[in-house]
Amino acid sequence: MLKLEKRPSDSRLMAYLSPLIAILLTLLCGGILFVFLGHDPFAALHTFFIAPLTSVYGWTELGIKVAPLLLCAMGLTLCFRAKIWNIGAEGQFIMGALGGSIAALQFLDADSRWALVPILLAGTLSGLGWAALAAWLKTRFNANEILTTIMLNYVALNALLYGVHGPLKDPEGFNFPESALFADATLLPVFSDDYRLNISILFALLAMVAIWTLMARSWVGYQIRVLGEDAKAARYAGFKDKQLTWFALLACGALAGLAGVSEVTGPLGQLVPQVSPGYGYAAIIVVFLGRMQPLGILFASMLLALTYMGGEMVQMEMTLPKSLTGLFQGMLLFFLLATDFLIAYRLVWRRQPASHSTTASQA
């Protein structure tokens, strides 16, 4: 009979294989879903996952979405490695966008590229500040960071709405809840005038390499890993958990804030209510799917970025709801958690010897 049995040691192979299995299962379920919706599953999956990438334009658009996902995910990696369940990247992202926009609106007449520096700084610091609030609540009051960061996300969202409906609204914007368009000089430089892809992707890749090195080679990174794996061992070794918590949360807030301000000074060019299509939440999936490993996270952020493009694609081409994106993202995480079971356990085919026959004979 088929039995589940605990492996003596975690399987490294399964650790890398399970995200791939999860992706396959998601595609399978997605295909079945499309059949139920009355579409040819292969054509639909093609539209969702392949079509967006058949042009250079598609790839540059992917890059635009990879940048914020990757920035947030690298920050979250630090937190999750330390088992600090920061769900607040979304709020930190929004605050980064909000803070950056307030700064950008002071430079509407700027024609120097240098104006971008204080704007990016303002956004990064806003995200950092928002995360600092969570760090303070956790280290000073021991308040559960899952709940505080979620609550701070809702507060940040309402602050954003207040901003675009109130003081930051473009006076000449026909009462739309949007800020004025930022000055050209205060927009992030693009690689080519034909595409929207800007240098924020470089920020993201830089962050990836930096955090990779930090986690793999530095003493701080080691301490964060130990704290997350085994808080008692960290205490035994004398690591300062509060300092590490501050470090991880502030770094994450700064990166998410940078992602936020890059969004408003990048593809958007102004502050709008829908500044984030849930990047902060999707980044959580990215981190898990990427196994908290830098390259894994890079690929995972590309995949999640693709789900956003696919959602838009099926909406345009097949008039299916854009919310398929969220559904695919959720399925992906679920399947991943399920297949992760195979890292610590294995399925074995075991013959049941003597005892089985004796049990049968006694019945």
Binding site: M151, N158, Y162, P321, L333, F334
Partner: protein
């Protein structure tokens, strides 16, 4: 402030507190068995959208409520399979459930946004509802308000007097020991998780069929999360959940109180209030960390699989 305003405020407080009671009671039972389900928000949204769709399609609110309950349980089953049978990380699985539920509800409800519905009508209790003030505040609610109170009594009784409640507490405190004395840990945990799903599904139905009879994306607005904080606030006691839910309900409708006074606060700032209140409560709880630790189920969040 005149008496009508006070009456309205108290009436609205009870209405607003009702979904929180349902979710928090369900989650409390779940946590007592040692399972932390952070997927409340997702289950809530799915319950709400399924309830709304069922009501639109069948035109029968009673059936719709059962659909919502069933949807909540299905979501909970999904969570339970991962968290109980596959011993996955409960925090990650709960988050996954919320993300999945948010996506699923948006997808299912995409054709139902902006559709109107004749919501649940108040059920005035004869005689009592005629009482001044109290009659309106307590006895002219829709049926689910009374259902919530009945369920509160049930859960209260469960942990105060029943052997089943004792078993659930045992499982949540020390699953290995519970298994050793012959309690089926997995079964009880599944039951608790499913009960939690049913309660949250019901709360979803309340939102989309009674509280604001309509569907909009993300209409739960974080109530699932607030209810999670409420369980901690109540230190896992049913009676304190009741109190806490009404306090939160009151905080959420404070704008009614400020209405017509000199204090004009922008609506978006007002809307922050329940979330800020939740943070304040979490901070306040830290002053009594020892008590929280004593009342928290000891093995909460720790996966358990019996060895074979």
């Amino acid at each position: 402030m005149d008496i009508d305003l006070i009456t309205n405020i108290l009436y609205a407080t009870i209405r607003t507190g009702t979904p929180l009671i349902l979710i928090a009671l369900g989650e409390m039972v779940c946590e007592k068995s040692g399972v932390l389900n952070l997927g409340q928000e997702g289950m809530l949204l799915v319950g709400a959208v399924i309830g709304f769709i069922a009501a639109t399609v069948t035109g029968n609110l009673f059936i719709a409520v059962w659909f919502a309950i069933f949807a909540g349980m299905l979501m909970a089953l999904l969570f339970g399979f991962l968290a109980i049978s596959l011993a996955s990380n409960q925090v990650a699985t709960g988050l996954a459930l919320t993300i999945f539920g948010t996506g699923l509800s948006a997808f299912l409800g995409s054709n139902y946004v902006g559709i109107g519905l004749d919501g649940m009508q108040p059920l005035a209790i004869p005689l009592l509802s005629d009482l001044p003030v109290i009659g309106k505040v307590l006895f002219q609610h829709d049926p689910l308000v009374y259902v919530a109170l009945t369920l509160f009594a049930l859960v209260f009784w469960l942990f105060k007097y029943s052997r089943l409640g004792l078993k659930i507490r045992a499982v949540g405190e020390n699953p290995e020991a519970a298994n050793a004395i012959g309690i089926n840990v997995q079964l009880l945990r599944y039951a608790a998780v499913l009960f939690g799903g049913a309660m949250t599904g019901l709360a979803g139905a309340y939102l989309s069929l009674a509280y604001t009879p309509m569907w909009s994306e993300g209409m739960s607005a974080g109530r699932g999360w607030i209810a999670l904080a409420l369980v901690v606030f109540a230190s896992w006691k049913a009676e304190r959940i009741l109190l806490g839910a009404y306090l939160f309900g009151f905080a959420s409708i404070l704008h009614l109180v400020l209405q017509g006074t000199r204090f004009e606060v922008p609506p978006n700032i007002m809307a922050m209030l329940p979330y800020v209140a939740t943070i304040v409560v979490l901070v306040w709880l830290s002053s009594d960390a020892v008590k929280t630790r004593l009342s928290a189920p000891k093995s909460i969040g720790r996966p358990y699989r019996p060895m074979s």
